[in-house]
Structures are given as structure tokens and as C-alpha cells.
């Protein structure tokens, strides 16, 4: 990895790592007596370990000019592996907390093991760890191919990937230590948020610098979505996380907003994290890997345009549907509901465009589990966007809100759409970049597919049942005009569904473990091949002439 960096980039890496180590030290010193010191130490330790790594390869020969003849895929390789590792962690913790709702005593009297601290490890682990790494890795791959341009340099992609994973590490370890600002899906505290801004600016600059050097006149639709993902997540992240730390020696901060304004800002962020992190970025993935794998051109250019701008414009209005019947002014609730219902149009345009792309390739869908992953993802995307529009209607929301139905809806999207399109894309991209004819085992891909489908269905059906039963029990009146059920009655009724959900989630998590194993074995297969031919020259013709000359 270091041998791929030029001498100047190695120096730059050392300078940046020194700066990060000093920042970590400063946080650790300023935060002595506070939990912040732990994170300061963690930042410093990460930087120092990486410095040793850079120094150990510092005198390796520099990469030659021939590197410009190839795309730069090593960061994509690392990102894919990191995404799969985070998938196992995030989904494993998710299944663990699902079991905690069945067996609440399994916290061992330890603060870090309680549901409230582990739940954000699950949500951040899957959204940011798994989803984010997959987006970064695939975006580098797609960007280069669709622009016919190499990444601008070798240092900045590593900065983005490693810096982003440092953010994920600070987030997950922080929750266990009790560091959170309680904003859902934006829990990390001020210093981690600032660090993510730095990482994100470099990420955007990579995108822009590569696009500026593209050999294709048009920017491909996948890149529109990846750019919307990068830009809008930046806007959302900065506004929602505006806060005043109590001091530079403390992890604790207070949000700039309060009450109703904070609620609206939070759900403007929260719902658009779904829109631009979990939808736009993954639509970018879909628009490249699905047509490539199917060997079919995208069905409609115009549907692509309408879908893209519809999603970019309308989603940003939809957040207030999380706040129906609350103290938020009704005009905002109504606007949110209206736009949420309208969102079905661009969402289904994107889904239909993908499914129609598969016309003429349905035999491949039947035979190829990788393509089937992507096809099923699009089906779940269509289903969960329909369900989302439906649940945003005020009358429906009065039943569904605060219940497990919301949890089921989120997982129909997160498991059915986000995770499946990611697994499909990873199974497509891994053999390509490691130059293998296929994955290590196609049977394991098949097994992963059926585990994922079974797990998602069990999960979603369990939560539909529990959510609707919960909602109905809360509003049922006895003949005497009093509430028929106590809260605890509704909780007791949930138990069988919580067991079913944990089993379904378990299926899904086991699938991720199989996926990680399969990716790992494919990489081993690739490196074994390289080891068998140790000094094999790059150009076969040249090799033959050398042998002839002996």
C-alpha cells in the first residue's frame, strides 16, 4: 500500500498523521478528568500506528509512470473489506440488542451492555460503518470507470477511507463509553463531527478533481447520485450538528437548537440521511452495477433524470412526517405529508427504470445470485418507498408512529434495499478488481441470498404484526369508554414477535458472515495466484521475449 504512494505523498501522509497525533494529544491533555481523554488517546494511538506503517514502507521504491495506465483500485479493495467487517459487527450487535428485548437480564449489570448504549452501535455500525464504507469504496470504482479518468492522486483516497473509519470508531466506542448527543443517527459529539467535515471536504474534492479530468463528455447518472449523496449529507451534517461544547476539554456539547426547532432540524436531517445516505448513494451503486452485471443498457435516460431531480428536490420537505400530531405547527406537518406522498413518483421511476433494464436479462436473474441480489433490492426499494409514503399520511401515522411498524419499515428499506444492493454490488465488484473469474464460491453467494431474503421477510412480517397490534391496543376502548389495555399489556403481547424478529435478524447477520468469508477467500485465491508466479512480468509478450533470449 505504501509502495503505491509517491515519495511526496509519503511525506504528506507523515505530516498529516503528525498533525492528527498532536490533535489527539491535545484532546487527551485538555480532556484529562473527562471521558474525552479516552478518545484523544484513541486518535493519537491510531495516528502513531499509521505513522509506523508509513515509515516502515518509506524507502520502498516509488511507483512508476505505468500506474497512470491503470485505475487506482486499492482503496476500493480496502473499503470493500472494511464494509463487510462493519456489516458483521453492526448486524451482530443489532441481533444482540434484538435478543435483549426478549431477555432483558443479559446486560451483566454493565453500563456499556445496556440496550440504550448498544443500539446506536448497531445503527451507526450498519449505516455508517457498512453503508458508508461500501459507498466510498464503490464510488471510487464507479467514478473512475464512468469518467475514464484515474483518481487524482494516491494519498487523498486513503485519507478519506481511513479518516472516515476513524470517525466510525470514535462513534461506536463513544456510545459504549456514554458519549452521545442523542440526535438519532447523528449521535457522535462535536469533535468527531468536525473531523467528519474535514474528511468529507477531501472526499468531495476527489470527486470534483476526477470529474474535471474526465474523458467522457457526460457525467454518468450514477455520479449524479454519488454527488448528491456527498453534497447533501454535508449540508445536513453541518446544520444538524451545530452545537456549543461546554469546554474544549469535554466531550459534552449542547445543541444550538431547542425544542420544536430542534425536532424539525433533527428529522429534516434524519429523514434525509435516509434519502441521501441510504437512497441516493445506493441508487448510484444500482445505476452502475445492475446494468453492468445484467449486460443491458439503462432502460430510460429520461426516467433517470426525472427520478434524480424528483428525489433531490422532494425528499428535503418530507422530514416533518416524523412529527405528526406533535407540538410542531400543523402547516409543517401537512407540507411534509404532501411531499412524502408525492415522493412515490420519483422513487418508483428509479425502481421501474432498474427493473425495466433487466428486460432481456431475466434468465441471468434466475441463474446469477449476484444479479438476483440487485433485482430483489430494487423490489424492496419499490415496496418500502410505497410503504413510506403510506405511513406518512397523517391518519395512518397516528397508528404506526411510536410502534414497531416504523422499525419494520426502516428494516424493509435497510435490509431489503440498502444491504441487498450492497451485497450484490460487492459480489460483482470483488471478482472484477481482484481479477478473478468469479467469487470463491457461487454456492455461498446463493446461500447468502436465501438467508437474506428469509431473514428480511421474517423480520418485516414480525414487525408489521407487532407494530399494528401495539398501535391498535393503545387506542382500543372498552365499552365503558376507558382505555382497554395498559401499556404493559401491549408490551407482553410483543414478546413472540420480538423473538421472531431476533431470529430473522440472526439469519441476516449469518448471511453477512458468510459474505465476509466468501470475500476473504476470493482475495486469498487471488493472492495465491500471484504467489505462484512470483516475478511474472506485467506484459506477457515481454515475458516471452525474455525467455527466448536466455
Amino acid at each position: 500500500m505504501i509502495s503505491e504512494l509517491t515519495r511526496g505523498e509519503r511525506r504528506l501522509a507523515l505530516a498529516v498523521l503528525t498533525a492528527v497525533a498532536i490533535l489527539g494529544l491535545a484532546l487527551a491533555v485538555a480532556g484529562r478528568g473527562d471521558i474525552l481523554a479516552v478518545h484523544g488517546g484513541l486518535i493519537m494511538a491510531s495516528a502513531v500506528v499509521l505513522m509506523f506503517f508509513v515509515i516502515s514502507g518509506y524507502y520502498a521504491p516509488e511507483p512508476g509512470e505505468e500506474r497512470f495506465a491503470q485505475y487506482y483500485d486499492t482503496p476500493t479493495k480496502a473499503g470493500v473489506v472494511l464494509a463487510m467487517i462493519w456489516a458483521v459487527i453492526g448486524m451482530g450487535v443489532g441481533d444482540w440488542v434484538a435478543w435483549l428485548l426478549v431477555y432483558p437480564e443479559m446486560t451483566f449489570d454493565a453500563a456499556w451492555a445496556s440496550f440504550g448504549r448498544l443500539r446506536p452501535v448497531h445503527t451507526s455500525g450498519v449505516i455508517f460503518g457498512f453503508g458508508g464504507n461500501a459507498l466510498i469504496a464503490t464510488s471510487f470504482h464507479v467514478l473512475q470507470r464512468t469518467s475514464r479518468a484515474r483518481l487524482p492522486d494516491q494519498f487523498s483516497p486513503w485519507f478519506v477511507l481511513i479518516g472516515y473509519n476513524l470517525f466510525c470508531l470514535l462513534a461506536a466506542s463513544g456510545y459504549l463509553l456514554g458519549i452521545t448527543q442523542s440526535k438519532e443517527y447523528a449521535e457522535p459529539e462535536w469533535y468527531a463531527d468536525l473531523w467528519l467535515v474535514v474528511v468529507w471536504v477531501v472526499y468531495f474534492s476527489i470527486y470534483l478533481r476526477t470529474l474535471m479530468r474526465r474523458q467522457e463528455p457526460h457525467i454518468y447518472v450514477a455520479n449524479w447520485y454519488y454527488m448528491a449523496f456527498i453534497l447533501v449529507v454535508a449540508i445536513l451534517h453541518i446544520v444538524n450538528n451545530l452545537a456549543v461544547p461546554i469546554s474544549f476539554g469535554s466531550a459534552k456539547s449542547y445543541s444550538a437548537f431547542a425544542g420544536v426547532q430542534d425536532a424539525m432540524t433533527q428529522w429534516w436531517y434524519g429523514h434525509n440521511a435516509v434519502a441521501f445516505f441510504l437512497t441516493a448513494g445506493f441508487l448510484g451503486m444500482m445505476y452502475y452495477y445492475l446494468p453492468k452485471r445484467a449486460g443491458r443498457p439503462v432502460f430510460s435516460y429520461r426516467m433517470g433524470i426525472l427520478g434524480f431531480w424528483g428525489i433531490t428536490f422532494m425528499y428535503m420537505w418530507a422530514g416533518s412526517h416524523h412529527l405528526h400530531y406533535t407540538a410542531l405547527p400543523q402547516w409543517v406537518q401537512t407540507l411534509g405529508m404532501t411531499f412524502s406522498v408525492m415522493l412515490i413518483v420519483p422513487s418508483w421511476l428509479a425502481a421501474a427504470n432498474a427493473l425495466l433494464t433487466l428486460n432481456g436479462a431475466w434468465d441471468k436473474v434466475r441463474d446469477d445470485a449476484t444479479l438476483r441480489f440487485m433485482m430483489l433490492a430494487v423490489v424492496f426499494y419499490g415496496l418500502s418507498t410505497f410503504e413510506g409514503s403510506f405511513m406518512s399520511i397523517r391518519a395512518v401515522n397516528s397508528l404506526s408512529h411510536y410502534t414497531d411498524w416504523t422499525v419494520g419499515h426502516v428494516h424493509a428499506g435497510a435490509l431489503g434495499w440498502v444491504a441487498l444492493i450492497t451485497f450484490g454490488s460487492i459480489y460483482a465488484v470483488v471478482p472484477w478488481i481482484w481479477k478473478q473469474p468469479s467469487m470463491y464460491s457461487n454456492k455461498l453467494v446463493e446461500a447468502h441470498f436465501w438467508l437474506s431474503l428469509a431473514g428480511t421477510l421474517i423480520y418485516v412480517f414480525a414487525m408489521w404484526n407487532s407494530g399494528i397490534i401495539q398501535g391498535l391496543m393503545w387506542r382500543t376502548y372498552s365499552e365503558g369508554g376507558t382505555l382497554a389495555y395498559s401499556f404493559i399489556d401491549s408490551l407482553v403481547a410483543m414478546r413472540p414477535y420480538y423473538i421472531a424478529r431476533a431470529i430473522g435478524g440472526g439469519f441476516f447477520a449469518v448471511g453477512a458472515v458468510i459474505g465476509l468469508y466468501n470475500v476473504w477467500m476470493t482475495i486469498r485465491q487471488a493472492s495465491a495466484e500471484r504467489a505462484e508466479a512470483p516475478d511474472a512480468p506485467v506484459v506477457p509478450a515481454l515475458a516471452r521475449s525474455l525467455q527466448a533470449g536466455e
Binding site: 473527562d34 435483549l100 428485548l101 432483558p104 453500563a111 445496556s114 440496550f115 448504549r117 446506536p120 456510545y175 458519549i179 452521545t180 448527543q181 442523542s182 440526535k183 438519532e184 457526460h218 457525467i219 449524479w224 447533501v232 449540508i235 452545537a243 456549543v244 461546554i246 469546554s247 459534552k252 449542547y254 444550538a256 437548537f257 431547542a258 425544542g259 420544536v260 426547532q261 430542534d262 425536532a263 424539525m264 429534516w268 441521501f276 433531490t312 428536490f313 425528499y315 428535503m316 418530507a318 416524523h322 405528526h324 400530531y325 407540538a327 405547527p329 409543517v332 407540507l335 397516528s398 411510536y402 422499525v407 393503545w474 387506542r475 376507558t482 382505555l483 401499556f487 404493559i488 408490551l491
Partner: protein, 246 residues
Amino acid sequence: MFGIHQKLERNAIGFVIAIIVVSSIGGFMEIAPLFTIHETVEEAPDMRLYTPLEVAGRNIYIREGCYACHSQMIRTLRDDVERYGPYSLAVESKYDHPMLWGSKRTGPDLARVGGKYSDAWHVAHLINPRDVVPESIMPGYRWLAETPLKVDDLSLHLAAQRKVGVPYTDEMIANAAADAYGQAMPDSPFAAGVTARYGDATNVRAFDGQPDRLTEMDALVAYLQVLGRLTDAPYQQTASTEGAKP
């Protein structure tokens, strides 16, 4: 229209600007007016501030992720109001940085839990929820009763909140640590200052049942007991609009 787009998608900078403009409209139209339209937040002249002990308790509530399972927002629905009490007003969370309205009721809503149970019930419930509610699936928080509360930075907490708009006075900020002790130790010399600064309605009690120690349990129970009790406005609102809401 598609012709224009053909030009747009050849221009990276133009595309970036278009994304930023198109995506910014929704948030701007929905969020900015909430700061300027006066009726968004009701008037409640009797609205009290959280005491330093309650602030500390609120931060424990945040730290432990209680908001993941408990909402603090009673909707304007008949069954919500009959189960939990008068529906929540915007003014009640006007000093909540951040708000803790929540999004899921794995456990019941807590917006009006203040005064509903005794301190002893809360302590027993937090130590092991199944001792008082056998069917509960809430985790136990036994260690809270043994962990001393960190008070040395409470002044910083109040000062930071003043920066974002909570009207703490200099005196409140300067006495934050003493007031935290006083509120949980009614027999100590610090107790009188708490009601003087935060009002006579402030709860001054040994919340965790140990009058000689200030623990995280004191802070969390003090916070839970003040939920829904910072202003009378929601109770008056319900009286005047009784039956008007579905």
C-alpha cells in the same frame, strides 16, 4: 427540458450548484419560519429552568440512550391524552437542547411522568425494573445508585446552555455545584439557595434515599420527577379546550 439537462450534465460545477440549490429549498422553507413565526412556541410566563441537578440527570438520560425507547411527546390524540396526560406544548421543550421527543415507545411516554410515582419507586425501578413491574423488559441501572455525581463542571454546562439561549443568570452559573448538592440534601446549608434561585416549586429531596450522598441516581430521579412539571400551561390549555380535540 431534456436538452438543457444534456448541457447541465456536461458541467461538473454547474451540476454541483444545481444539486445544492434544489436540495436546499425544502429545508429552508420548513425550518426557517419556525424561528420567525411567533405562534410556533406558546407563551408560558411560569416556565421554569432545569436546576443543575436536573440538567445532570437529563445528561444521564441522554448518555444511557433512554430516548431510544421512551418518547417525551404526547400527541393531540384522544388515546394519547387519556393515557399520558395533556398533550405536549412546544413551550415545554423550549429549553431542551437538544429535544428528547423520541421516536419509539418500546416503553411508555415520559413527558408527564414527573410526580406520578414516588422517588422510592423510581429508585427501585431503575435498580431492577422487574422488581416493580414483573413484565418489564427495561435494563437495570444498578450502578447509578453507587456512582457519585460529577458536579465540578456543572457551571460549564449552564454557561454553555446560556450561549445557546437558556436564560441562566450569573448567580445560577456560579452556584451550580452547590445547588446540585443542596437539591439532593435538604438538610444541608446549600438547600435554601436552590429554591431561592429556581423557585419554590423546585423539588428538594434526597431523591435516592441517601441524604448523605450525591449520586447519579439522585440526578436522574430529580430529572424524571420534573418532567411535565416545568409549567402549568398544558394543564390550563386542556381545561380551556376540553373536548375540542379528537
